[in-house]
Structure formats: structure tokens, C-alpha cells
Assembly symmetry: C2
Homo-oligomer: 650 residues x 2
């Protein structure tokens, strides 16, 4: 029988540190960490092939701690190993005692895993539960593209396994044969407020995982003879799941008295905990054994990844022709969603580009990419949460993932989107069928809240000063094409909305689009109408109506970007008798709020008026009928413009 006293000793050392870290920090989840002490030691000191001193090694195994609140034990190990944090150009090594900075304002040891603040050992922010396995799956997709044999280990809590996204991720892992993912369930039998349900016991989890198509290894999570073979044993042709039965608060009596979660020991309880762990060490005969050294950890070489200059789609005409859309430039009519698909397919010549879609690729037109680049297309089926988090993993692996579904269905993944923003993940989302113009399918399919939600995040800054999100609204196929290309080259989270209807082209191929840009489409004198996306076309009709019937001369601005050049737009409004009318086919919280706030902060005295979707829509047969229902037809817009002067000149 092998001697594991060195590993036992390490468990004791780290467990003591976890208890201290949480008490010093005044918060944290020591009991969860202790349940994972053996698994963490096995992974980080024996099983994983990686370099604590070089977390940027692209060939190394990765650990995703989906059960984010258990992170103190990983921090303790990483500090013990002298793990490196910071950025690649400014790395710094941690020391054992650095673990005690847990949760301090200037520490990279955040309350939950958070790579964005300088902890590159992790690839995605976790802590909102159930999202890590999807990120692991994305990393696994990336590893396959890299030609790397790295493994991705993902630890999930048993209570956490209640989140449906876990089961979405498992379906995805089996579908795509991601046998490089080792999914580990920490079955300590306790959630936050209670013991776990019978639906989340080790036995039920095992049965579920087998039914989902995994090879399941159910083990004692504190027994090396079971842990090490389970984590390292050769896989069959199925992905492996390890269900580890563990003890929450292992080794410390105080934690074992009842369901104990999310509280540190009080200072006067720490000595007893240390004594408990010393007694445990004595019982294991591990008191005097030598510590495991980092020297036993091996790492593969870094693998090369595609890189290079700016990602380009090449000429618009060629890209469209490759998708059978060559007639669009002649007919000068194409839906923005089709342009999205075409440019994505064209950019696919660059191996960095990957795409995911949720069983609507023939509506979002991601299918153009899927057909031309099947090896870099990951069908995510009807499971949007997993899709967005998997993209985070792909981005962490150096790819530029484009994720598409109906804008409405991406609402399903808003928490995942927010976690991606916290991660500073370089992912690109395309929500199709946005606004009300999809008409007949009704409100369950209409993206109406995306402006408000993404704008909220877009105004937050990352710690490198960049916006946490960008938002784009193409109005025609050319702008959809160019903005998609722009997103591919813009570091960070980008969201674009496309629309269902076929619309006229407004721009020539040579037109350029920029972050913070807008287009001054029509120059008028009396009022500046600011529109985006599909509403640019409706507003354009309104301008004609005003000209023909009202005698008013209106400016038309295509506000396709957020961030928006609000000051320039207001200046244009200032030249239009100080009247700006924003028209949006979404609920409140978008461009109008953006311009209103800017107007309030300026001293130009421009009046910003707004029209948006003010009632929950229902089905109607055509875009025109639905616009009528929500009061956003060209006639409505013209009448509102007219009303501005009827009122202001009254």
C-alpha cells in the first residue's frame, strides 16, 4: 500500500490555513473548503500538469472551481506553491502567508474566483453557481482546437448541481465528446440552508450522470486510494464524472456539529480547530512527514495558438456571395441577421473565430459559419445559459467566440453575461429578432429589455478602464457586416442585436463604423430624429412624411453604437432648433436615457424626447401592424415631431 503521509500532511497544513484565512477575513466558507482539501491537494500537487509559476502556459491543465465559495482552499494551495498572479507582463509570486489577505480590498484573492483582478490561475469568475462546468466545456473545445491533450478539471458542489445549467453543460460535453473534461462533484451532503435534497445525494447524482452518458466514479473524497485512481484513471469512450463523498468541515469538530455554511470561526474558536487538525494529523501519522513539494508537479510545454493581425472578413461582395447572397448588393436589400451570418463565415478564415448557436442557426444565420467551418462551430442546442458560459471558456482559450440566438432567448443567460463581464471575457453576443419587428411570433420571442440590461453593464468600467460591455445596433446589412467585424477586433464583451425583416441597404461597402460612432443620414433643420436598427428605416419614412405633409425638415441619425458620441449628436440636435427625438423599438433604458442624461449634463439646452415600446406587445401579422400597436409607426413618429412644435410654439 502506498504511503500518502505527505499528502495527508499537506491537507492538514492547508486546512489550518483555510480556517485562519476565513477568520482573519471575517467571512468566507471554511467548511466548504475543508470538504475539498483532499481533492484540491490531489489535483494541485499530483494530478494536474501545470506550472504554478506560469499560469499562462497554454498547454497546461486547468481547474475550474464552479463551487466558487470553496475557493480559500485553492488559494491556500496556490500560495503554498508560490503561484504567480498579476498579469503576464507584471507577474508576482505569492507566498504562503499571502493567503491571509483573502477578501482584502487590495488583494487578488477575491471572495470568489475572479481572474479579472489578477488571478490568472482561474479562467472565469464563478460564485454565481452552476456556471463553471460550461466554462470548462468551452476550455475543452478550445483545447481540442489547439491540438492540446490538456485536461480540464471542474469541481461542482452537490447542492449546486441543482442548477439546470449543470445538466445543459453535461449534454454539451457528451454531444461534443469532450472527454478532456473531468467533472468532479463535491458531495458533502449540505447546501447553505439545509442538507441537500434526495435529488442531490451521491447515489442520485450517480444515477443521473450515468443516464446523461458519463462514466461515473463514485468515491470517498478523503481516501487517496480512491481519489487518485478516479482522477487519473484512463477514460473509456465516455467523459468521466467523479462523485466524491466528502465531509463538510472535515477535521474540525465545530463544523461537524450541524449544517455549517458560509461562516468563519470566531477568533477564540481557532485554537481548538488547530488542535482538532493536529489530532487528525496524529491519527493519520502525518505529523512529521515531509511536505509535498512543488517539484513533483510536471507541466507540458505551451502550445501555439492562432494569432496575428486584425481579423478581417474581406470584401463584402465576396463574403455575401460565399453564402449565396450575391444578389443583395444589386437588389440593395438584406436582413441584418443574414449579413451577420455572412460576415461571420468570412471571418472564419481566421482560426481564432469560433461560433455557438442555440438551435436557431437557420434564423440567426450562424448556419453560414457552421457550414463553412464545422470544426469551429459548436452547436449548443436549446440551452442558452451553457452556451454563453461555454463561450467564456473558449475566450479564455484564446478564441474569439460569437454566440447567437434570438435576443429574447439570450435574456435566459443574463446572469452568465454578467459573469462574463466580471471575467473581462472576450465574447461576442448576437441577439437576433430584436425589438418588435418580428411581429407574428409575439412577445415571448421579442428582445425588448436588452438595451436596458446591457447598457447598465456597459457603463461600468473594468479594472483596466475599458467599458465592461459594448452594444451595437446595425440598421442595415452593411453596418451589420462592419460592426460584426469591429466586434471581432474589439477586446471585451460585445453585444449586437439584429432584426428579422429584410431591409434596404443604407450604406456602401466602403462605409466605416467605429466604437462611439453614429451616422448622420439626413440633414434637416427642425428636429433631429435619433434611431437605431430597424427603427432607422421607420424614422426615414417619418422624415419623408414630414417633408411631404408637415413642412418640417428633419435630421436623421443612425445611433448604432453604445458608447455613443452623445455630445456630437446633441450638437446636431442643437442645430435642429434644439429638438431631439429618440425612437426605439425596445422598452425604456436605452439610447433615449443615454442622450437625456448627456443633455442634462450639457449646457446646450437641447430637449430630448423619446418614443419607445410602452406596452407589452402581442402578436400581429406584420412589422407595420405591430408598430401600430405600440405607437411607433412612421406616422406616429412624424406626428410626434409635429407635436413638438405645436406644443413649443403654443
Amino acid at each position: 500500500m502506498a504511503d500518502y503521509k505527505d499528502l495527508d500532511r499537506k491537507v492538514i497544513t492547508l486546512s489550518k490555513q483555510v480556517v485562519k484565512m476565513c477568520t482573519v477575513s471575517g467571512s468566507g466558507h471554511p467548511s466548504s473548503g475543508l470538504s475539498l482539501a483532499h481533492l484540491t491537494v490531489a489535483l494541485m500537487y499530483r494530478v494536474m500538469r501545470y506550472e504554478p509559476k506560469n499560469p499562462w502556459n497554454t498547454g497546461a491543465d486547468r481547474l475550474v472551481l464552479s463551487e466558487g465559495h470553496a475557493v480559500p482552499v485553492v488559494y491556500a494551495a496556490y500560495c503554498d506553491l508560490g503561484g504567480v498572479v498579476g498579469s503576464a507582463d507584471r507577474p508576482s509570486a505569492l507566498s504562503f502567508d499571502d493567503a491571509l489577505t483573502l477578501r482584502e480590498a487590495d488583494s487578488v484573492l477575491d471572495g470568489h474566483p475572479n481572474p479579472a483582478i489578477g488571478f490568472p490561475f482561474f479562467d472565469s469568475a464563478t460564485g454565481s453557481l452552476g456556471e463553471g462546468l460550461s466554462a470548462a466545456a468551452g476550455l475543452a473545445c478550445g483545447a481540442r482546437l489547439d491540438g492540446s491533450d490538456k485536461k480540464i478539471y471542474c469541481i461542482i458542489g452537490d447542492g449546486e448541481s441543482r442548477e439546470g445549467q449543470i445538466w445543459e453543460a453535461l449534454d454539451f460535453i457528451v454531444d461534443h465528446k469532450l472527454n478532456n473534461v473531468v467533472t468532479i462533484f463535491n458531495a458533502n451532503g449540505q447546501g447553505q440552508s439545509d442538507y441537500v435534497s434526495n435529488q442531490q445525494t451521491a447515489e442520485t447524482l450517480t444515477a443521473k450522470l450515468e443516464a446523461f452518458g458519463l462514466e461515473v466514479r463514485t468515491i470517498d473524497g478523503h481516501n487517496w486510494e480512491e481519489i487518485l485512481p478516479a482522477l487519473t484513471g484512463e477514460a473509456t469512450d465516455k467523459p468521466v464524472a467523479v462523485v466524491a463523498k466528502t465531509v463538510k468541515g472535515w477535521g474540525v469538530e465545530e463544523f461537524l456539529r450541524s449544517n455549517y455554511h458560509g461562516k468563519p470561526l470566531k477568533e477564540d474558536q481557532v485554537a481548538q480547530a488547530m488542535a482538532d487538525l493536529d489530532a487528525k494529523a496524529a491519527e493519520l501519522g502525518a505529523t512529521e512527514a515531509a511536505d509535498v513539494t512543488a517539484g513533483q508537479i510536471t507541466a507540458p510545454a505551451s502550445v501555439g495558438r492562432p494569432g496575428g493581425e486584425a481579423i478581417s472578413a474581406g470584401p463584402v461582395a465576396e463574403a455575401l456571395a460565399a453564402c449565396g447572397l450575391e444578389s443583395a448588393l444589386e437588389s440593395r436589400k438584406l436582413a441584418t441577421r443574414k449579413a451577420y451570418g455572412a460576415v461571420l463565415a468570412a471571418m472564419g478564415a481566421d482560426e481564432r473565430i469560433v461560433a455557438l448557436d442555440g438551435d436557431v442557426k437557420n434564423s440567426t444565420f450562424a448556419e453560414y459559419f457552421a457550414k463553412q467551418h464545422p470544426e469551429r462551430y459548436f452547436e449548443a442546442r436549446i440551452a442558452e445559459q451553457n452556451m454563453v458560459s461555454a463561450a467564456v471558456g473558449l475566450a479564455a482559450g484564446g478564441r474569439v467566440p460569437f454566440v447567437s440566438s434570438f435576443a429574447k432567448f439570450l435574456v435566459r443567460a443574463y446572469d452568465q453575461l454578467e459573469m462574463a463581464a466580471i471575467t473581462n471575457a472576450n465574447i461576442k453576443l448576437c441577439g437576433s429578432h430584436a425589438g418588435v419587428s418580428l411581429a407574428a411570433d409575439g412577445p415571448s420571442q421579442m428582445g425588448l429589455t436588452d438595451l436596458a440590461f446591457v447598457r447598465s453593464i456597459a457603463h461600468a468600467r473594468r479594472n483596466d478602464g475599458a467599458p465592461a460591455a459594448y452594444f451595437f445596433q446595425p440598421s442595415d446589412a452593411i453596418s451589420a457586416f462592419k460592426l460584426t467585424e469591429l466586434m471581432a477586433n474589439l477586446e471585451g464583451l460585445c453585444y449586437m442585436r439584429t432584426h428579422r425583416p429584410e431591409v434596404p441597404l443604407l450604406y456602401e461597402e466602403s462605409e466605416e463604423f467605429t466604437v462611439g460612432g453614429f451616422k448622420h443620414l439626413i440633414d434637416g433643420e427642425d428636429v433631429a430624429i435619433v434611431a437605431s436598427g430597424y427603427m432607422v428605416h421607420v424614422a426615414s419614412e417619418a422624415v419623408k412624411i414630414l417633408e411631404e405633409t408637415g413642412g418640417l425638415s428633419a435630421t436623421l441619425i443612425d445611433a448604432y453604437s453604445m458608447p455613443l458620441a452623445t455630445e456630437e449628436i446633441l450638437r446636431i440636435g442643437d442645430d435642429c432648433r434644439g429638438q431631439v427625438l429618440v425612437v426605439e423599438d425596445n422598452y425604456i433604458g436605452g439610447i433615449a436615457d443615454e442622450l437625456t442624461a448627456a443633455a442634462a449634463a450639457s449646457d446646450m439646452g437641447v430637449m430630448v424626447h423619446s418614443m419607445f415600446v410602452r406596452n407589452i406587445p402581442k402578436s400581429a401579422k406584420t412589422p407595420e401592424a405591430i408598430l401600430q400597436m405600440v405607437g411607433l409607426t412612421a406616422q406616429d413618429i412624424a406626428a410626434t415631431c409635429q407635436g413638438l412644435f405645436d406644443t413649443s410654439e403654443a
Copy 2:
């Protein structure tokens, strides 16, 4: 062998109608509907005990069509049965041909199930996939509370079963022994853009369902001998799932040629489809058989439900004392989240009140309710999507459900929240640990986007003219208490955010809080600070600092409600040298936007300034430290106030 020719005939009649409906409408999903023709006929003409003429019968079985796009076949049947639509005080009966109004702007036959526009046969809007089974589970919880033996039938697509929420719902159904739910999977083998994955075949679904603890009946979904026993057979001690293998586009050759989804036949294809179905009828010998009549449908009597006058929590002191919080009124300090738990428990004396929580009841303090009213508390575990949709089902059953989790974790259920708003569901959400004041746990636990998202919906109107959502932000325990009581008595979707820290009481027990109200806490002359929730306390400190050091006299307003009385607040600001400063501990998109827009629309000339969370936070040990990190300390607020005058008087 029984003769099912009448049922066969009905299948033919309805299938023809489905084909016509979609072609007339110009859109829709006829092939999905046809795959469900037999199951729909079985349920609506034989199995379900209900009254098509009285969809408000509280004792009747219910059908939840989670696979919402298949709705034309249900509409066809309901029209055929002369089903009643509209409202209980203005009912109207449909005729067979009314089915042809599908998706028209003035039809109650919306593109996807939509009870809110007058189709009371359904209980929840569906169409964003994967949500219906949770609503069915909520209906089942309600039925149990009613003492009704009704059954809830729920139809789910096989592709749809990829959504994790389905598996959350199944766990919930098994946990709560909701054997009154019959879950039916329509295994037609096709999704929208492709055939379903191996993970969603009838065989894999069967294995998964068995592992989840269901009794599974796998059948041919076009064979009466299998359908009827599967739907009506006595259950064992497990909930029943029926996996029905069906043919997408059954009976119409054009639909069978390839994967056919979401498209109607062209007009010139309809005649052939009718001929195909006539041939099918001939083959079945069902050409001349008499139609099934509605007379064969039986219904139980309506059951009584709790009702009555306004829901009351009684005196604050008694409610707090019942939860061991009696000292709070003396110490005048209590966290808003604790007050939420206490008032919820006190209101629990009214049987309409039910509660759900996602394994954080000891943090949200829903545990006070759970302890006092265990029969009306439904532990939803770590699965927020299911929790919110289950609440929609409970509300449809006449209960007033309160749903709690961390505000951040409710982001997980924003699509479910939006679908609840589309449903006009009378549900109440409480997001705890909102804003940045929870500090140490870091950004993965902080609710920062809730204002923007819920405000976006709150500005949309339901078709009865009411706001689609209300938003409340209590600043102390008394306002949390009173606002929770207010929500219980307010029809519609309400969202309240509570905070982690213990805070001083600002109000007396006698204080009243209203929709659209606010509190003028401190009267000053130079600037009006508008704050909500935790920030009221920080702003109050700022007022003191200004008084002590800056010589500025500031007004303080507690803006606890959205809708907000913006005009009155601006008038107060007008009296404060026209300067308003809004301070918020969330990302942009909340109160500041609300007041800025109102100021822009008024002619008072009030300047609205704002402070909000402008960077992605990380962990810090205390609320004070995190406020410092995001620039929202009392000192920051005071300095900003001071700066207004340094600038404006410069």
C-alpha cells in the same frame, strides 16, 4: 379492441385546421402542432376533466403547453369545443372558424400561449422554452393547498428538454411529491435547425427521467392504445412522465420530406395537405365516423380558495417578536432582509401567502416564514429559474407567492421574470444582498443590474393599463415591512431589493408607504439628495458632513418606489437651488435616469446629477471599504454636492 375512429376523425379535423390556420396567418409551426394532434385530442376530448365553457373552474385539470410554438393544435381543439375566452365578467365563446384568426392583432389566439390577452385556458405565457413545467409544478403546489385532486398536464418538446430548467422542475416535482403533474415529452426527434441530439432521443430521455425519480411511460404518441393508458393509468408513488414518440408533421407528406420547422405551407400546397389528411382518414377508416362531442368531457366542481380583504401583517412589534426580533424596536436597528422575513411570516396567517426560496432562506430570512408555515413554504433549492416560473403557477392558482434569493441570483431568472410580466402574473420577488454593501463576497454575489432591468419592464403597460412591474427599495426595517405588506396587496409583478447590513430604523411603526411615494427625510436648502435603500443611510451621513464642514444645507429624499413621484421630487429639488443629486449603489439605469428624464420633460430647469456604481467591484471587507472602492462614501457624496456649487458658481 376499442374503436377509436371518433378520435381519429377528430385528429384529422384538427390537423386540417392547423394547416389552414398557419397558412392563413402566414406563419406558425404547423408541423409541431401535427405531432401533437393525437395527444391533444386525447387530453382535451377524453382525459382532462374540465369545462371548455368555463376555464375559470378552480377544480378543473389544467394544461400547460411548454412547447408554446405548437399552440395552433390546442387553439383548434379549443375553438372546436366552443371554448370560452375573454375575462370572467366578459366571457365569449369561440367557434371552430375563430381558429383562423391566429396571430391577428385583435385575436386572443396569440403566436404563443398568452393568457394575459384573454386566453384563460392557459395559466402562463410560454414560448421562451423550458419554463412551462415549472409553472405546472407551481399549479400543482396550489392544487395541493386547495385540497383539489386536479391534475396538471404539461407538454414539453424533446429539443426543449435540453433547457436546464426542465431538470430543475423535475427535481422540484420529485422533492415535493407533486404526483398530480403528468409530464409529457413530445419526442418528435426534431428541433428547429436540426434533428435532436442523441442526448434528447426518447431512449435517453427515458433513462434520464428514471434517474431523476419519475415513473416513465414510453409510448407511440399516435397510438390510442398506448396514449390513453399512459395518460390515465394509476400512478405508483412516483410522478409520471410520458415520453411519446411522435412524427413531426404527422399526416402531411410535405412536412415529412426533411426537418421541417416553423413554416406554414404556401397557399398552393394546402390542397395537397388536405388530400394527404383525407387519405390518412380513409386509411384509418375514420372518414365517416362521428366527431367526438364535448359532451364526453366531464368536470369536477370548482373548489373554494382562500380570499378576503386586504392581507395584513398586523402590528410590527408582534411580527418581529414572533421571529425573536423584539429587541429591534428598542435598539432601533435591523437589516431590511430580516424585516422581510418577519413580515412575510406574519402575513402567513393569510392562507393566500406562500413562499419560495433558493437555499438561501437563512440569508434572505424567508426562513421565518418557512418555520411558521411549512405547509405553504416551497424550498426550491439552488435553481432560481424553476423557482420564479413555479411562482407563476402558484399565482395562477390564486395564491400570492413571495420568491426570495440574492438579487444577483435572481438575474438567473430574468427571462422567467419577463415571461411572468407577459403573463400578468401576481408574483412578488425579493432580491436580497442588493447593491455593493454585501462587500466581502465580491461581485459574483452583488445585485447591480436589477434596477435597470426591472425598470425597463416597469415602464411597459399591461393591456389593462397597469404597470408590468413595480420596484421597491426599502431603506430600513419599517419600510421593508410596510412595502412587503404593500406588495402583497398590489396586483401584479413586484420586485423589492433588500440589503445585507444591519441599519438603523428611520421610521416609526405608524409610517405609511404607497405606490409612487417617497419620504422627505431631511429638509435643506441647497441641494436635494435622492437616495434609496442602503444609500439613504450613507447619504444621511453626507448631509451631516455638509452641515458640519461645508456649510451646505441638504435635503434628503428616500425614493423607495418605482413608479416614482418624479414631479414632486423635482419640485423639492427646485426649492433646493434647482440641484438634485441621485445616489445609487447599482449600475446605471435606475432612479437617476428616472429623474433625469422627468427633469428633461419638465420646465422647472432642475439639474439632476448622479452617482452610481461606475466600475465592476471586487471584494472588500466592509460596506465602507467597498463604497470607497466605487466612490460612493458619505465623503464622496458630500464632495460631489460641494462640487456642484464650486462649479456652478465658478
